[in-house]
Symmetry: C2
Subunit: 333 residues, 2 copies
């Protein structure tokens, strides 16, 4: 049997029961954006890790080393955001092939620390080693969140409104352009590539949701709405209905869809790595959350609601309803 | 310029000043066994990370997957031990080549969690991804230590006694046998290979030193006495003198030295990965520490003392004195 036969989540389900050896104080070990560990009665330590390999997760030819460095950190900061936390410290480990220039590494580190500085996050010790083949980046990030504010995946309630803290789809379209159509230099193509290479972690949005008293659950859109919403649904024992007319479609996707022969909604629902947040909001508090977001110049999108489970459905603009299957990224599929 | 030109520590010195963005609460960021972060006034969180690559750090042919899994965790547990802490949670990330069997991974995870269970350490979330080439293991471990007990590298005092919590050298001899002489099946060779593949992290010894009130500084022997003592000396602004007659030489090394044409003291001083602790003890409290160790059936070895710096010297059995240079492992040398 090979990993591709059982998939990434199959493998995680396989190994996770073995790891929970001392359950006291572990609020979330595996199966959420961060591991959440009780340190004292009023605050949780958040820890999230990521392993990025050249040629699997990125190509050094795609972007400057500064951009690759910043992007490597973004996914973990986004995980902290999804738990409502403030990131605290980054632990960076690198496996470096002999052929790599130190100047490239300096620039990589410069990009990463520039992003870290924006969020007042340290980049602390880690491990540096040689690699016989490709460049490997391992990142662990810790964060803190007041215990009563932590945002998890399993706590959405039936009737809660599903919101996005920003539009999705552009990042994956940008990835498609980098893979297949680097010659494409339209404004839309450039915007999509930029969205893929320089996503912004929604730390401030996450903190706002965490302190709002209105948010019952959250996840970041790393694998795509369809996959990430499925996590919220499964973990909360609920289903969901999304309304097609309420889901934001970046205008660039309409243009790019014609060129790349793909339906924009496919990118919007199934494309990952936008790193916006997908959250559950108590209906009576929705208006307040949206207004509070506007004060910060953010646009939050109510795109659907949680219903009795387990189906995820899309209420289409033509009046028909279709089921949504998780179709985001699985590393081993 | 390539990394091999400046070495691992050259690279760390190059990048570490950039990372210390928010110094409040960071007791140790880079340059110790663990990053040490103040969480509350009376306890420190310890975080240590390690990145291990197939063919760089280990060969899957060398040992069972269970052994490889346990060994992967040992280095990090040893880092927690060197800070005097109790390990708490393990965050494991793996990059897995397509060819790898899930059964192999299950066994790897079984070995790792068996060791984790011995120390009541959880194995929590992490990241799992595919690899185009080799198997990559990334491990982050957190630990806790009462603030007043933490053992660091820069706090040794002139006149402090240098102790080892166990003998060194056997692990590196075992590594040499695995590389060059797998046909060698003498009792000594088997013991050396066992020492290399199944080192024991000195967690309990570290806790004992941390609570003794006698230990002023500590490090684990991961790169070899000569390199690791150099860290204690440089960070504490001291030199050291070691007495050859007091340094334990495992009897197996005498036999293996003849076969592999290497001086046993070379393995003892320069061989790494034994994962015993090298610590500084206040002279008036040495006897108490040694007796306390004996109660636990441990043998601690006073092998020298810290002197005004910066030289590290070996007082030889023939009465002569020679300088010791750090000669342990550097991944890029």
């Amino acid at each position: 049997m090979k990993l591709k036969d059982i998939g990434e989540f199959g493998f995680i389900n396989r190994i996770s029961p073995l790891g929970n050896i001392r359950p006291e104080g572990v609020i979330k070990g595996i199966g959420d954006d961060c591991a959440v560990i009780q340190i004292q009665t009023d605050e949780y330590l958040l820890v999230t890790t990521d392993l990025l390999l050249e040629k699997v997760h990125f190509l050094v030819e795609w972007a400057s080393p500064e951009t690759i460095g910043a992007r490597a950190l973004t996914a973990n900061l986004s995980d902290i955001a999804a738990c409502g936390g403030n990131p605290r410290d980054v632990f960076l480990s690198l496996a470096i092939p002999d052929k790599m220039e130190v100047e490239w590494l300096d620039a990589f580190y410069r990009g990463l620390t520039k992003l870290a500085r924006q969020y007042k996050v340290n980049v602390l010790g880690g491990d540096t080693t040689s690699s016989k083949t490709d460049f490997v980046i391992s990142i662990a990030v810790t964060g803190l969140v007041p215990a009563e504010q932590v945002l998890l995946r399993h706590t959405a309630k039936e009737g809660d409104i599903i919101i996005l803290t920003g539009p999705t789809g552009l990042s994956r379209a940008g990835c498609d352009i980098l893979i297949k159509r680097q010659d494409l230099k339209t404004e839309a193509a450039i915007a999509a590539v930029e969205a893929h290479l320089k996503p912004r972690p929604h730390i401030a949005e996450g903190r706002m949701l965490a302190t709002s008293g209105a948010c019952t659950a959250a996840i970041d859109v790393s694998d795509g709405i369809s996959s990430d919403l499925a996590h919220l649904c499964q973990d909360s024992g609920l289903g969901a209905i999304l309304y097609e007319t309420r889901i934001p479609i970046p205008p660039e996707l309409t243009q790019l869809g014609k060129i790349l022969k793909r339906h924009p909604m496919d990118w919007v629902l199934n494309g990952g790595e936008d790193y916006v947040l997908l959250a559950a909001i108590t209906p009576t508090k929705l208006q307040g959350v949206i207004e509070e977001a506007e004060k910060n110049n953010w646009k939050f999108y109510p795109i659907g609601e949680f219903v009795a489970g387990p189906k995820m459905q899309l209420s289409r603009s033509d009046g028909k309803t279709q089921e949504i299957a998780p179709a985001g990224w699985d590393h081993f599929a």
